[in-house]
């Protein structure tokens, strides 16, 4: 009997020792479409994504970028941006200043690349908005020389600056490559404006010449969409193209001069017939010479580059509508959130005096309540807050996020042009002094904008 027990004991001991060598079963890998705690956000796009403001890229404006606002509202990890130090980078790599009279001047920046404060940031920027980027550029441009603009003699230097292929191995990467390498969980895509904008701001839009036809563009953007799908972000919000002729760049300068208390308006002399919009730069040159006699001298006439005819504006709008129709159907097909920027812009209304609508341009230079910055194309701080809200609402409704929107009334427009160097301009009121005085005469400085905004078109 005892030996029987011993045998049992021995057997159990051996069993125990054998078992002790066993490891856990291999768990089976589940499939996760995402995580309820998103950790990383990235934005792919152009100047509208970069936080371009007041005709330039500078830290003050970049801090108001919608990408930064979204992560702040959502409580996600902050976004790294290519921070541009003072005096910022404006048209053609120059800086925009306001002088002591309030006039805006352009000054040369010797080495714009040196203004990139965080050039040694070791990985790509989460805000991958490159001012001037076209839809083609997203998958193809790896430098200024390979940007779409280079072919037209206008290489886009922002690619060298933001992609940093010289210092970010393995080099030779595109905007898309860099975003993909960041593995974002949530991302935005907003591209296409620069395929149209240059034609419109140049005053003579011709589809197929300086505007990408919608059929061509759809193929370009579908390639971008397909590529973005390979990033595998859990949530993608794609924005459509806001109206262009309805921005203050086109609506600020009136079509004529009011000559009596009855409101009788005499149109400016123009080379083109049936003018619907006069472009913003014209505001600084219009004077009595452009008014026909007997109201003025009638000796000058606005060139076609300064005006949009009804037909030209309609052509631009038709292309935008076609793009947007395609974006809407692709977003739906891919299950992405659609951020309706066109609708948001239209909802701002058309009354120039209306809050948040227009380039609230006055002799005092105040721009406090406008949704647009001083260049008439890009949003102001308030405008970018509105843009962020459109993205947030799209993410919330499509993906069930509960991100609170930005309280736009609490956002102030404080970024403007800097004072010209050497003026001894003493800011009297701290940060508020960053609002420059801004007068009509200064608008001449924005002449360089069309070429810049429509890089390579």
């Amino acid at each position: 009997m005892r030996s029987f027990h011993k045998r049992i004991a021995l057997g159990l001991l051996i069993a125990a020792l054998t078992l002790a060598g066993c490891s856990a079963d291999d768990p089976s890998a589940p499939t996760a479409t995402g995580n309820v705690f998103p950790v990383h956000f990235a934005a792919l796009g152009n100047s509208l994504t970069a936080g371009f403001m007041n005709g330039g890229l500078i830290e003050g404006g970049q801090n108001a970028s919608f990408a930064r606002l979204i992560v702040k509202q959502a409580g996600w990890a902050d976004v790294a941006q290519p921070t541009i130090s003072s005096p910022g980078i404006g048209p053609s790599g120059s800086a925009l200043y306001v002088d002591e009279t309030g006039a805006v001047t352009v000054d040369t920046v010797a080495n714009p690349l040196a203004l990139l404060a965080n050039s040694t940031y070791p990985v790509p920027y989460d805000n991958m908005g490159v001012p001037g980027a076209t839809t083609w550029d997203v998958l193809n441009a790896t430098s200024a020389e390979t940007s779409q603009g280079a072919a037209a003699g206008q290489p886009n230097g922002f690619f060298d600056m933001i992609l940093r292929n010289g210092g970010l191995p393995p080099g030779g990467t595109t905007q898309f490559d860099q975003v993909k390498s960041l593995h974002p969980e949530v991302m935005t895509l907003w591209i296409g404006s620069n395929d149209i904008l240059g034609g419109a701001t140049g005053g003579d839009p011709v589809v197929g010449q300086n505007i990408t036809p919608s059929a061509t563009w759809e193929a370009l953007v579908d390639a971008v969409f397909d590529s973005v799908e390979t990033i595998g972000a859990r949530e993608v919000a794609v924005a459509n193209i806001p109206g262009i002729p309805t921005t203050p760049y086109f609506t600020t300068v009136p079509l004529g001069q009011v000559i009596d208390t009855m409101g009788t308006t005499i149109p400016w002399e123009t080379d083109e017939e049936d003018v619907a919009y006069i472009l913003l730069p014209a505001g600084s040159i219009l004077d009595a010479t452009y008014l026909p006699a007997p109201y003025g001298l009638g000796t000058a006439s606005l060139p076609s580059t300064m005006t949009l005819t009804t037909a030209e504006a309609a052509a631009v709008t038709d292309v935008i509508d076609a793009y947007n129709s395609h974006i809407a159907s692709e977003a739906a097909a891919r299950g992405w959130a659609l951020a309706d920027m066109a609708g948001a812009l239209a909802s701002l209304g058309t009354d120039p005096a209306e809050l948040n609508r227009l380039f609230a341009w006055s002799e005092a230079g105040q721009n406090v309540n406008s949704a647009f910055g001083l260049d008439g194309i890009h949003p102001s701080e308030k405008g970018y807050a509105k843009v962020a809200n459109v993205f947030i609402e799209a993410l919330n409704s499509t993906y069930g996020e509960t991100i609170p929107t930005v309280d736009i009334s609490s956002v102030s427009n404080v970024t403007g042009f800097e004072q010209a160097p050497g003026l001894g301009f003493v800011p009297p009121h701290g940060k508020r002094s960053a609002i420059p005085r801004f007068t009509k005469s200064g608008l001449a400085a924005l002449d360089a904008l069309p070429a810049f905004l429509g890089t390579g078109r």
Partner: protein, 463 residues
Amino acid sequence: MNNQRMPGANIDSVEARGEEREVHLRRLRGLIVSALLLATPLVAMAGGFNIYEMGGRATALGGAFTATADDPSAIFYNPAGTAFLHRGWEVSLNVSPTFPNNKFARASGVTERLYPGDATGETKDNIFFPSGAYITYRRDEHWSGGFGFFTPFGLGVEWQNQDTFSGRSVATNSQIQGLYFSPVITYSPEPSFAMSVGANFVKTSLTLENIATQPFGTNNDALNIMNVKLDGSANWAASASAAILWKPTEKMNFGINYKGGVTNEFENEGASFTQIMTGVSSIDDAVAPLVAAYDRMDVSGKLNFPAIVSTGARIQATENLALMADFVWFDWSSFRNVNLELASDTDTLSEQLREDYTDGQAWRFGGEYQITPSLRGMAGLVIDNSPQPVGSVSPILPDADRIDYSFGFTYTAEHFELTAAYMLVNFDERSTVVDGVGHSYDGFDGSYDSVAHIPSVGATYHF
């Protein structure tokens, strides 16, 4: 998680650039700190890895020992049991070598991109030695007491292939050890009843390691940029304990055992950072000054061990067969947040981590059969519910519901008693993915399966 500022729009060239550099540093610092903080829940989960195998006989019985407590390991399981031991001294040494094995399978989908590296992982074949050493003295029919040393909280999770393990930025090695020194005194007003009070003096040490990584390149790679190690020893902590053992009839025992929770306070313990050269100069150049600046950072924080309440019953079913059932409750719900403060030169990086543990419960059942006058056979079954919410299941400590099976033999001689036991701890497979959506607080989703083998021995001598 990182503390980036939102600078005002005021533009000043010199200041703006200086601040930008600062932002850059803070961002990377935030990364490191995040990595460190992510490692913290591990500590928390030590409770999920509570160790109840503090005596050989109790282990053989599945830990259902609260109403039995008939050897000096009673100081852990029920100090009132000292009233029923031999007159005079008893000494008992117990060790339960633990062979844990954890396996991980990363979720496919978004997790792959967030956490590049090996799709599966397995822990190293480490052995841990939870131990209990006890000495008791029974003076007379009324007074008894004793002193115990045991390790009821702690274990370790160290992953293989740390350079490529996909969870390396969360944790590569996590160790915790809580040493309890516990004097007790027991009073027995009548032969069937005893009550005991005592104290626990606790010394806890912990090590948390991970590897900070940076996403890099277009092929879903992440480069290892630095080793982060948190190494510390807490201040002494103390709590009270109390217990009752009641034997209303010859065939029936009831016991209750309470051990107070303790808060282990770590003050100015060290976090160290060691750069890993990637060969990519832009990254190496950015990391080097950070490593130099934070060569050793003071870390302070608190880690709670929960209170334990066990209640048990023992019934002598037949002449030779006794059956036991215990219910053990852990005050894990007190474990909601972990506060961790990292001292740095300029800013406070204090964090409060959400834990949201629920109370933990275990049902423990045991049976004991007198085979011969000197030999007893024992077996046990444990149903142990994890207190850990799915969000904090991680490579630091992947807890899950478990079922334990145990058996063992006790041989009794005139002054000696020897016990050999074995326990199999079988974890349920547990995934952080629920209905296709990951719930890991770290975004590191996947499934875990774990097992532990615990051969246990105990030797008791009375004189």
